[in-house]
């Protein structure tokens, strides 16, 4: 079986978001970067599927040169090799991203065979566009189920589970298929030190797709106004309990 996982490098913003002076980006001077939790679950699932069924897993990202770090992280979690689509720094909108990924999948499949399954995150952690996986599926003419919290291979297809109010909805789709997943699909493991070292030597193929015209064009970012207050300190340590219960009573919950 052949499986592809598409991931995005995003900053770990911590307690407060600070923007660059031109309000085009988050100021990441003091921040680390990560793969979004949804996509980490995609990586974990892809690695498990290949372990169980044999075959090859590939990770793909469209991102700045530094996104190689996230590709290596994915390989440390069990992915065999990586494709890096260099975005040359700037962010791409959902349509342009989907087009670049679609073309890369076509080229990769022409060389090495069809991917039975392609994983995306349900939405990227930063831009939250909710569309790239769906657009790629449409372009490739493949069935797509979104927001999965459960997946199991059944014969020549997959059984997909989505969390909905009151339970889970089930879909069954044949290979080749595209799925978008959410955190909670599985519990990703931590990479071992030997796996991290091995990942440094695993292959990364790079391509530089042409950036299309942006049709959802970012003008600027704005940090929403916070509640703009400091918490009222009810007390220190267990002695505060009495005041806490008073407040709970005022709110009407105790």
């Amino acid at each position: 079986m052949r499986v592809l996982v598409c991931v995005k490098r995003v900053p770990m913003t911590g307690g407060r978001i600070v923007l660059t002076e031109d309000a085009q980006e988050i100021d990441t001077a003091h921040l680390g970067f990560t793969i979004s939790p949804h996509e980490e679950c995609g990586i974990e699932e892809a690695a498990r599927l290949i372990e169980a069924h044999g075959g090859e897993s590939v990770v793909l990202t469209l991102g700045a040169a530094e996104a190689e770090e996230q590709l290596r992280d994915a390989m440390a979690l069990g992915i065999d090799r990586a494709l890096h689509l260099d975005s040359e720094g700037s962010e791409w909108d959902g349509q342009a991203t989907a087009e670049a990924i679609t073309n890369a999948i076509r080229a990769e499949e022409a060389a090495s065979g069809t991917f039975d399954l392609v994983f995306f995150g349900n939405e990227s952690a930063d831009a939250g566009g909710f569309q790239v996986g769906i657009r790629v599926a449409h372009a490739l003419g493949r069935p797509c189920v979104t927001g999965l919290k459960g997946i199991a291979v059944e014969g020549s297809g997959v059984r997909c589970e989505q969390e909905v109010p009151g339970g889970r909805d089930v879909y069954r789709i044949p290979f080749p298929a595209i799925v978008t997943v959410k955190e909670g699909l599985n519990l990703p493991h931590y990479p071992s030190v030997p796996a991290k070292l091995r990942a440094q030597r695993q292959p990364v193929d790079t391509a530089t797709p042409a950036r299309q015209e942006q049709r959802l064009r970012k003008l600027r970012l704005v940090v929403p106004e916070s509640r703009g207050k400091r918490a009222e300190v009810l007390g220190e340590g267990p002695a505060a309990a009495e005041r806490v219960v008073e407040v709970l009573r005022e709110i009407g919950v105790a």
């Binding site: 979004s36 889970r168 789709i173 064009r217 970012k218 940090v223 919950v253």
Partner: protein
């Protein structure tokens, strides 16, 4: 301008988020030319309700595909209407399904799509303000092409009934390809009811890395039970395997809006706060008076949760004489 709003149906009516999207769409259209799409049998029964929310015409898509949720089939119904009605705007709720259906429709008509908008201004191009990072950051952007496809972020506008006439009803059958019939819900697995659910609870007692272990949640469970609330947690906790992901509050967990959120040993990362900013009140219990959460909490207790939380439970029992 003409607006088309995709409605999500409940067993007995219309989802609240769809009514919010209708209010948003009506405002943006700037006139009464508001159409709604409801798929499946009985859609016509919604005409009085939708009329009361400003819809002039309800389009009911009928097809055997609609006996269960079939996302590509719904998207095809949207595209059929776009071709027939030429709306300037196509909207849906910023829900899982709303975002999915509009993204699929956008792919079919090769247009951009802006998810989770909180504001929009008509013009050429249309300007939107939309949520990033689960609402922790906003983006102002231009959306090229017509119609403009967008979803409305939950709870940024209220549903707003108007004095309107009942909507007229148009029934149609979309032409669906075999591919569009292939992806559909084939089974529903009911969740076992297990006490108060996180998303509906009035009180949520939540623990972060500061709880120290899975066992560290015993004191939180005790307090939650006394307050008939639910237990939540941060991602640091789910990643450590101390609690299941179904308990996680945040951008990639559950979004909640309880009367009070009691955050114990949680630092207040933006991605965590994205899940609990709908809470009416937030009480932070933290050893660190400088923790980020202090900037969004209403109340704080500075101290070790392992001492403070049991003391609060004891105080409640004392007051109740139990």
């Amino acid at each position: 301008m003409r607006a088309l709003v995709v409605i999500e149906r409940l067993a007995d009516g219309v989802d609240e988020l769809s009514l919010q999207a209708l209010a948003f769409g009506r405002g943006l259209a700037g006139g009464p030319d508001v159409h709604a799409l409801a798929v499946g049998e009985g859609g016509a029964d919604l005409a009085p309700l939708l009329g009361a929310h400003g819809v002039s015409e309800v389009h009911v898509a009928e097809h055997e595909a609609f006996v269960s949720y079939a996302p590509p089939a719904v998207a095809r119904a949207v595209v059929d209407l776009v071709e027939r009605l030429s709306p300037g705007l196509v909207l849906a709720a910023g829900s899982d399904r709303g975002n999915e259906v509009l993204a699929r429709a956008a792919a079919m008509v090769e247009l951009p799509f802006a998810a989770n908008c909180v504001d929009a201004t008509t013009g050429d191009p249309l300007r939107v303000t939309r949520q990033r990072w689960g609402g922790s950051l906003l983006e102002e952007a231009e959306l090229a092409g017509a119609p403009a496809l967008l979803t409305v972020a939950p709870h940024v506008v209220a549903a707003a009934p108007v004095d309107g006439a009942e909507a007229t009803v148009d029934t149609f059958t979309p032409t669906l390809s075999p591919d569009e019939l292939a992806v559909r819900v084939v089974e529903h697995v009911r969740a076992e009811a297990a006490g108060v659910s996180l998303s509906d609870a009035n009180v949520v007692v939540s623990g972060g890395r500061g709880t120290g272990s899975a066992e560290g949640f015993a004191v939180l469970e005790e307090l939650a039970e006394l307050l008939r609330g639910a237990v939540g947690c941060s991602r640091a906790v789910t990643m450590a395997g101390w609690r299941p992901h179904t308990d996680q509050v945040g951008q990639t967990g559950t979004k909640i809006a309880p009367d009070i959120y009691i955050a114990c040993g949680i630092s207040g990362a933006t991605q965590h706060m994205a899940g609990c900013k709908g809470a009416k009140k937030i009480l932070a219990i933290n050893v660190d008076p400088e923790a980020s959460i202090m900037a969004s909490a209403d109340y704080a207790v500075i101290g070790d949760l392992r001492e403070v939380v049991p003391a609060v439970s004891a105080e409640i029992r004392k007051a109740r004489g139990t």
